[in-house]
Structure formats: structure tokens, C-alpha cells
């Protein structure tokens, strides 16, 4: 069904333009690849064909394009990249659909907000640091049996389930105009530890991103998770917190899991208002 109608003229070739980069901090460059058309390809198979070919459209032998992938069914988030200018998972990006929108070529670029490691592979460390910052977990250590947890109301379940589908892919932050790239250069003679510390400090001050705000709301609404709700609110109202949101609302538009991120952001805004006023009077 998805494949182009065989009656119409199928293309013989697919042009794939890839933005490549040999290593962190190096200059990116473009290469054009030409692969044979096959029906029902996805972008991952295209990258596999390119790897097998290892040749640009003008016949120059090149190293295979590097990319990251895991589950191949849009639940791990690791194959996220910019396809035709829009951030999404390459496993669920179907070539026949892409060719319908733009029959001339498919453009692949790495995510724009994370440091490129090589070609289409990026370092998404900051994404996970933000989850650590808002303590996006249920604080139990599992040493003792604490008995059954508090009963969750159906309405709360229905509110929480969509938020729990987040796979930390980074589409939301990549499309967010308020989330800007942080790429530090290692200073000469700087140790691994010193560099990691400097990087963590830079991450700490920068915007945490929609995914972390949404996860904070998920766990603040969880019967056990809410035990440390105040700590999450401290993180949300601290440096790089919810105040950095500019309400462009791209996050909710690009989220592959259709998570109501802007609803989470508005709820976090209300929670932050109440929390700050309470703190003001109670401290």
C-alpha cells in the first residue's frame, strides 16, 4: 500500500544527500549517494545500502556513513536524525513516503543540538543529564518489601500513561528554539575528569528541555514518585528550568510518541507558580 503505485513511473534510483563529519569539532561536508530503488525501504535500509556501496554518486570510494540504531521499531530513539530537514527516527521514516513529498532526493543530517561524534551519530549525554537533574524516577531502593503501593485513580493513570511513553529520543529538544547546542572543546592538557566537570556545569545551567519537564510531571503525579516532588520543583525552578521555555510548541508537534508535552509544560508552569508562592510564604 505504501509503495509507489507500480503503474506509475517508479524512480530507478534514489538520491541520498548526507551531511558527514569525520570527528567531533571537525568541519561537516556533504556527499551524494545514488542507490537503486526498491519498494518499501526505510532510511535505515538506505544507510545499509550506502554502507555496502561505500561509493558516492560520482564513483569516489568513501568510508561507510556512520549512524546509530537499536530497536528498529521506534521505541529506543537512538536512530533519531534530521530527515529532509525534520527531526525524526530513521527506522520509521519510510522512503516511499519521503519520495512522495520530495521525489528528487532524501537529505540526511545529524541532530542539530548535540555534538556530532561522527557522520549521523551524536552524543545525547545532555538529554539524560536533564533526566537526572529532575530525578525522573521513583525513589525506592527495593531493599525491603514495602507492601502494595497507593492505589492509582483511573484518571491519573490516563494522564500518566502517555507521558510514560517517552523514549528520550531528543526530537523535542532538537526542534526547540530555546534549546541551544552546547559543544565544549577540550583544552590542551585538560584531564578527562576536568573536562567532564566543566561539561556537567555547562549542562547544569542550560535549558533542561521539554522531555525532562514532562518526566518531572509524570513522577510528581506518581503515588510513590511524588515523595520527592519538592526536589523536582527545585530543579524545575532552578537554573535552566521551566522559565527557559519560550512557548514555540515545536516539541509537541515533532514528538513521535505524540506525548502532550505542552500540556506537561503548562502543568509544570502552574506547579512552579504555586510552589514558588508557597515557598515565599513558608520559608
Amino acid at each position: 500500500m505504501i509503495a509507489l503505485d507500480p503503474a506509475t513511473n517508479r524512480p530507478k534510483f534514489i538520491n541520498v544527500r548526507v551531511k558527514r563529519q569525520d570527528g567531533p569539532g571537525q568541519e561537516p561536508y556533504w556527499q551524494l549517494f545514488k542507490i537503486d530503488y526498491e519498494p518499501e525501504l526505510n532510511v535505515i535500509t538506505i544507510l545499509q545500502r550506502i554502507a555496502a556501496l561505500s561509493k558516492t554518486s560520482d564513483g569516489k570510494a568513501v568510508t561507510p556513513v556512520v549512524w546509530d540504531c537499536g530497536c528498529l521499531e521506534e521505541v529506543c530513539g537512538s536512530c533519531t536524525m534530521q530527515i529532509n530537514g525534520r527531526v525524526r527516527q530513521s527506522c520509521s521514516a519510510l522512503v516511499d513516503q519521503l519520495l512522495k513529498d520530495n521525489p528528487d532526493e532524501i537529505v540526511l543530517e545529524p541532530m542539530s543540538k548535540f555534538p556530532v561524534l561522527r557522520d549521523l551519530m551524536v552524543d545525547r549525554k545532555r538529554l539524560f543529564k536533564a533526566l537526572e537533574k529532575v530525578k525522573a524516577w521513583v525513589p525506592v531502593d527495593s531493599y525491603y518489601d514495602m507492601g502494595p503501593g497507593e492505589r492509582q485513580l483511573r484518571a491519573a493513570q490516563e494522564q500518566n500513561y502517555p507521558l510514560s511513553q517517552c523514549m528520550s529520543c531528543g526530537c523535542c529538544v532538537d526542534s526547540c528554539p530555546q534549546y541551544t547546542k552546547i559543544e565544549l572543546q577540550r583544552r590542551s592538557g585538560e584531564s578527562d575528569e576536568a573536562f567532564a566537570k566543566r561539561e556537567a556545569e555547562a549542562f547544569d545551567k542550560a535549558f533542561i528541555g521539554p522531555h525532562a519537564i514532562s518526566q518531572a510531571m509524570l513522577f510528581n503525579n506518581h503515588p510513590t514518585g511524588k515523595a520527592i516532588a519538592g526536589e523536582r520543583m527545585e530543579a524545575l525552578t532552578g537554573p535552566g528550568g521551566i522559565q527557559a521555555c519560550g512557548n514555540a510548541q515545536n516539541c509537541v508537534s515533532v514528538c513521535p510518541k505524540e506525548i502532550p508535552l505542552t500540556t506537561s509544560i503548562a502543568r509544570a508552569g502552574r506547579a512552579a507558580t504555586v510552589y514558588t508562592i508557597k515557598k515565599w510564604f513558608e520559608k
Binding site: 541551544t180 552546547i182 556545569e201 525552578t237 522559565q243 519560550g246 515545536n250 505542552t262
Partner: protein, 296 residues
Amino acid sequence: MSDSNSDSSGQPSFFTKHEFAIRRLHSLTGIVPLGLYMCVHLTTNASLLNGPETFQRAVFLIHSPGHLLPLIEWGGIFAPLIFHAGLGIWIAKTGRINSSQYRFTSNKRYSWQRWTGFIALVYLFLHVMHLHGGVHFEGWINAIDKVGLGQFRPYNAGSSLVDAMHRGYGVVWPVIYLVGVLACVYHFINGLWTAGITWGLWISPNAQLRATKVCVALGAVLTVISLSAWAAAVFPSAEDAAKMRAVEDRMYEEGVEAGTVPEMEHKRDLRNRDAIDEADEEENTQASKIQFEPAA
């Protein structure tokens, strides 16, 4: 990229530490006092359409605090405005506009919020210099009057406003005001909508959609008011201004006599008084003619 500002060894600056509160204050000042003030200001100006008396009455009321007025102006308008603008520039610099890549309506609104903010900042500076002059020192007002700035005279409100618009070939200022006022209206209404999300008033997509409709309606009303205010200042001719001036002078003189208007000669338009006196006489003779007619 962020290399330079990551040198501070762990100690966040005052601004970083209180960023949340400072940005909430930015959001608040945009609505109260600035947005609210703009609504009152535009409505007052639009009242000129009803005649110079209505407008002049409103300006007398606004100027009734007398010597306290500069305090109110600076504390209630200029200081919040400078804070809002300064922080606004910083906020705009923390983002990277990408509405050409992600063409969603809300993303375009985000970009426009920043562009109109810059337009509003430049425009409001020009507007304050053009009509108000910034500070009330007589020497300063006289000096900038020579280059066509500080043109407004509160006790000749309508006429000095109309005359000020006629400067610059009668085109330059009207165009600046049209663009500037519309940018301000957009910036305020869109800011009101995003503030509702920021403070957590409208949360669900449905609630945000309803809020959008209310804001669009508010924006439409405010646009009509602002265009009325603009038209009332731009369209009257020099003769209309002279007639307005006669009315204003009469209101001032009678007001001072009645004790309802504090006597402050420097708030009157005393430039080119000869021409005005002529117009006054003409007005008086016309008035006397009208008065005599029934008797004849």
C-alpha cells in the same frame, strides 16, 4: 560556543540563581503595568475622534497629579519598560529562531514575538523622544524641540499631537506609528497568551485553543482602538489643529479659573503664538458672527 561562560567554578551568578523569579517578573511587567497602560493609552488617544474636548479632558485627568507625574511615569512606565526590554533582548538572545525550518503556527508566533519586541523597543524609543522628550527639564525640551522632538504639549494635547504628526512631510511619523503600534499590539496579545501558559492558567490543548480565541478577539478590539488612535492623530489638517488649539486654550483658561486644572504654563503649547492668536481671533469673530446671526 558556551566555552567562555563556563569558567565560573561552580558558583552561579545572582542572575542564574534567580532566573526563574526574574523571568516571571518579566512576564508580569509585560501585562501589568505595561500592557494595561498601553490599553488605557490607546483608548485615551482614540477618544480624540470624539473631539478635542474629550481628549483634552482625559489628558487633564492624567496630568492631575501635577509634580508627582514624573514619579508615576518613571516608576510605573519607564522603569518597567526598560526592565522588560532589557531582559527581553537577553531572552531573545538565548534562543535560535527556527521557524523557517519548522513552519508550525506556534513557532511562527514565537519568532514574531521576538521581532515585534525589537520593533516595539525601537518604536517606543522614537515615540517617547518624538512626543514626550523623556525628561521634563525646560532646557532639554527647548533644545530637542528645534530638531522636531519632544513635540507634545499636554495642555494643548490634540493640536500639538496633530502638528507633531505633520512633521517629516506628514508621512514618516505616521508610517512609524502605524508599524510600531501594530507591533506593540501583537506583542502584547501574544505575550498575554504565552503568559497564560507560563503561569499555568490554560493547560490543556483545548483550554489553550479557547484562550487563543479570546486573545484573538481582544487583539481585534485593541487593533481597532489603536487604528482609531492613529487615525485621530494623523488625519486632521493644520486648520483642524488650529481649531483644536482654540478649544484647548479655552478649556485651560476656564479650568485654571475654576481650579480644576493646575496652572502650569510649560505644559501649554506656546510655540508660534502669533499664528495661534490669529486663529483665536478668527475663531472668536466666527463665534461672534454665529452669536449675532439669530439677533439679525
